[in-house]
């Protein structure tokens, strides 16, 4: 007979689906691997160095910050800090000096996450907070990119070039290069193919809703497509916009961040469209060549509002209304 004194009393449900935060984070990490490998292929070991520094850096900041705050310090184990680190690296150039990586980690975890109370409480995507802060603080460093040298591990010779979006006229990269990733940019801005593979993984594993990437990319394609149609001088064609710069990584990996994007399907659609509109406007008419980061941060700020106004009606609600009307 079972020992009644050892029986646990707690609320239903008594079984759980087995999902955990760390399982989710690890899977997103895996989804980033194709892009990470592509970065190493095109930019050599320097890219690997940036990724390792940022990942370890973010985890270290997480541990130290918790210690300093006197909080139970094993939240680094949930994998969210490591993921933020890798995402941060994806937003840096292979030529980023080591201290940019460390400073970025501090900004991401400290300013972007812990200052708000840690995972779940941060209104903004931590990696993007760091990226934008660095962009403002070190505009020069953050906008010079290493030229890709496919398959040459050590051939990183600090040749710098413009990102495809800042380029004009003849310098425009070919669509094929953009798709494969043979262009300058930050680690995660290069290979659209690798990001699509990772994005497909996220969708298949149901780690992200399709609503965000679809509406984000769709809106950018629509607006830039129209702009190009009416004035080809103004901006490159839609496909170019979709493949170049940070749109792919932004739409699949940054805008979909659970903590900082809306929870409902309708909210996610609005969120994605908003990101798409702002990105397109900045790219076509703004002062910066790239607008993905800003657009996502801006929409992050609107997330609580979107959540509030997209609350649907519960099951059985319509009928109450009808009856009340009678």
């Amino acid at each position: 007979m079972p020992d009644a004194t050892k029986l646990v009393i707690s609320n239903s449900p008594h079984i759980r689906g087995g999902e955990t935060i760390s399982k989710i984070m690890v899977q997103v990490f895996i989804a980033l691997m194709p892009a990470a490998l592509a970065a190493v292929w095109f930019f050599g070991l320097a890219a690997l160095e940036v990724m390792v520094l940022c990942t370890v850096g973010c985890m270290a900041v997480e541990v130290l910050w918790n210690k300093a705050a006197g909080r139970s310090s094993d939240s680094w184990k949930d994998g969210s800090a490591a993921l933020t680190g890798l995402l941060l690296a994806m937003n840096l150039s292979a030529g980023a000096p080591w201290w940019i990586c460390i400073l970025g980690s501090l900004l991401a975890i400290g300013l972007g996450k812990q200052l708000f109370g840690g995972l779940g409480y941060n209104p903004f995507n931590p990696a993007l907070v760091a990226r934008v802060a660095l962009l403002i603080g070190f505009p020069q460093l953050m906008t010079t990119w290493v030229k890709p040298a496919p398959g040459q591990w050590l051939a990183y010779d600090a040749l710098t070039g413009a990102t495809p979006l800042a380029a004009t006229g003849k310098e425009l990269a070919s669509i094929q290069d953009l798709f494969i990733g043979n262009v300058g940019g930050c680690l995660g801005e290069t290979s659209a193919l690798a990001l699509l593979i990772g994005g497909a993984f996220l969708l298949v594993r149901r780690l992200i809703k399709w609503h965000v990437p679809a509406s984000f990319i769709g809106t950018v394609a629509l607006i830039t497509g129209l702009a190009h149609h009416f004035n080809p001088e103004l901006t490159p064609p839609a496909l170019y916009h979709v493949l170049a710069g940070g749109l792919m990584i932004g739409a699949f990996f940054m805008a979909t961040d659970m903590v900082t994007s809306p929870m409902t399907a309708n909210g996610a659609l609005i969120f994605g469209c908003g990101c798409g509109i702002i990105t397109s406007v900045i790219r076509i008419w703004g002062g910066y060549p790239e607008g993905v980061s800003f657009s996502i941060l801006f929409m992050n700020a609107l997330t609580p509002l979107i959540d509030r106004y997209t609350i649907g009606k519960p099951f059985g609600y319509i009928r109450i209304k009808k009856e009340a009307a009678q």
Partner: protein
């Protein structure tokens, strides 16, 4: 009706673990020396005890009479002596009034009700009175008095028999439908007559194909339609079941009759047959005794008042210490800390959960993953309501329609942060109710 009814929104797919007991035919538990009958077994008012210590009782004799409309009588599970009327362990981990019957071993019937063989030509009011007198409740778990549902105050056009049995592990209804197929259908026909309806529909989850085909073989004889339901927890929840079968949405705070439906559990339907055709009150039920730690899980026909310890003994005892003992299924059942609690009319399962299965996680902050929102069959926002509750903002919780929550636990089941969502909602509802009472007093 199609063979593939509507899918209600949300729901989850836990491992069903029914294989442990699904193939085990129902065995009748041997007569015990003592039964402890918990007095309050139904939703609504507890019945009023009409026996006293020392009384001799016969099997089926009245122990307690209904104390109002939403109340049911209680009958002796066997013949013997009333040896105690005192508090004993109850299903909510607190002691509750019970009546102890020490059996005389003769298992002698008192004067049971007159069997109504010709129920087809009997006044529906007489049939309904029999349901009242027999003390029948919703045996699927809720314990709601069956006769109350049979007295709708609004026009009703659909009688639904609930054979979904969507809770993992439980197989009692499955076995019942398989072994007493015609009784289930006959019950549907009698219930239909009471409601003035010609037909009934019975919904069974697709994971019980043998029961479905057996029911189908006899269904037309009783003017019953059998509907295969999607396997999706909580398919057996009244509102979800009605939606799947009819497309009607029961309003929040409303009842099935608001959309012209009456839902009865299959076991309750069989209890109605016993009461009407054989004149036997509700004194026994089929219960699944199961769980990985048990040596020999299975399904048994127990008298009401059988201690859990006896049930576990019949199932061969345990191989190792379980982490939890539950009455009901793992999604909505109640954890117990005593083996002396006894089988009640709504005890669909006695379940032992091994330690690996139990959720012993610490709750972490919500990462807003939206999984709970997707899983919620009532289409409310568990994450947001839970945050309101954590901030003690019960007014927000109310605005966010926490009242619609059916406490199915799907949200807690999927939450990667292991938040006690369901628990929050129970608390919110209690607080809102308390606040409303206070206001009414003013």
């Amino acid at each position: 009706m199609s063979d593939n009814p509507r899918k209600f929104k949300g729901g989850v797919h836990p491992e069903d673990s029914k294989a442990l007991s699904a193939s085990k035919p129902v065995q009748t538990a041997p007569l015990l020396g003592k039964y402890t009958v918990i007095v309050h077994q139904n939703i609504g008012a507890p019945p009023e005890i009409v026996v006293k210590k020392g009384d001799l009782v016969k099997k089926g004799q009245l122990l307690a009479k209904a104390s109002g409309f939403v109340s049911v009588p209680l009958h002796a599970p066997t013949s013997g002596t009333v040896t105690a009327i005192e508090k004993s362990p109850g299903p909510a981990c607190v002691s509750v009034p019970s009546i102890e019957i020490t059996a005389d071993g003769k298992d002698e019937w008192g004067s049971p009700f007159e069997p109504i063989a010709d129920w087809r030509n009997t006044d529906p009011a007489v049939l309904k009175q029999r349901v009242v007198d027999a003390g029948i409740v919703g045996m699927g778990g809720a314990g709601f008095p069956s006769h109350v549902k049979l007295s709708p105050t609004k026009p009703v056009d659909t009688l639904i028999l609930n054979g979904a049995e969507c809770e993992p592990y439980l197989t009692a209804d499955h076995r019942l439908m398989l072994e007493q197929t015609e009784d289930v259908l006959l019950g549907a026909a009698i219930l239909a007559r009471i409601l003035g309806l010609k037909t009934a529909v019975i919904g069974v989850e697709a994971n019980k194909p043998d029961a479905i085909s057996k029911l189908n073989a006899f269904a037309s004889k009783y003017s019953v339609t059998v509907q295969k339901l999607r396997v999706n927890y909580p398919q057996g929840a009244e509102k979800q079941l009605i939606y799947a079968l009819t497309g009607r949405e029961v309003p929040i705070g409303g009842l099935p009759m608001d959309v012209g439906c009456v839902v009865q559990n299959v076991a309750s339907a069989v209890a109605v047959v016993e009461a009407v055709v054989k004149g036997i009150p509700s004194i026994e039920r089929i219960t699944t005794v199961t769980g990985e730690p048990l040596v020999n899980p299975g399904n048994w026909r127990f008298r009401i008042g059988t201690p859990i310890s006896k049930a576990l003994e019949l199932a061969g005892g345990v191989k190792y210490q379980p982490a939890k003992l539950l009455l009901g299924g793992p999604m909505m059942g109640f954890a117990q800390n005593s083996l002396d609690v006894t089988v009640m009319k709504n005890t669909s399962g006695i379940l032992l959960i091994p330690v690996e299965q139990v959720s012993q996680y610490t709750s972490e902050p919500c990462i807003r993953c939206g999984r709970c929102v997707e899983a919620c069959p009532m289409d409310i926002l568990p994450a947001t309501i839970s945050q309101a509750v954590e901030n003690e903002r019960f007014d927000w919780a109310e605005q966010l329609n926490v009242a619609a929550c059916i406490e199915c636990g799907s949200c807690s089941y999927v939450c990667p942060s292991h938040r006690p969502l369901n628990q929050h909602f129970k608390r919110a509802k209690a607080e809102i109710l308390a606040a409303r009472r206070k206001q009414q007093k003013k």
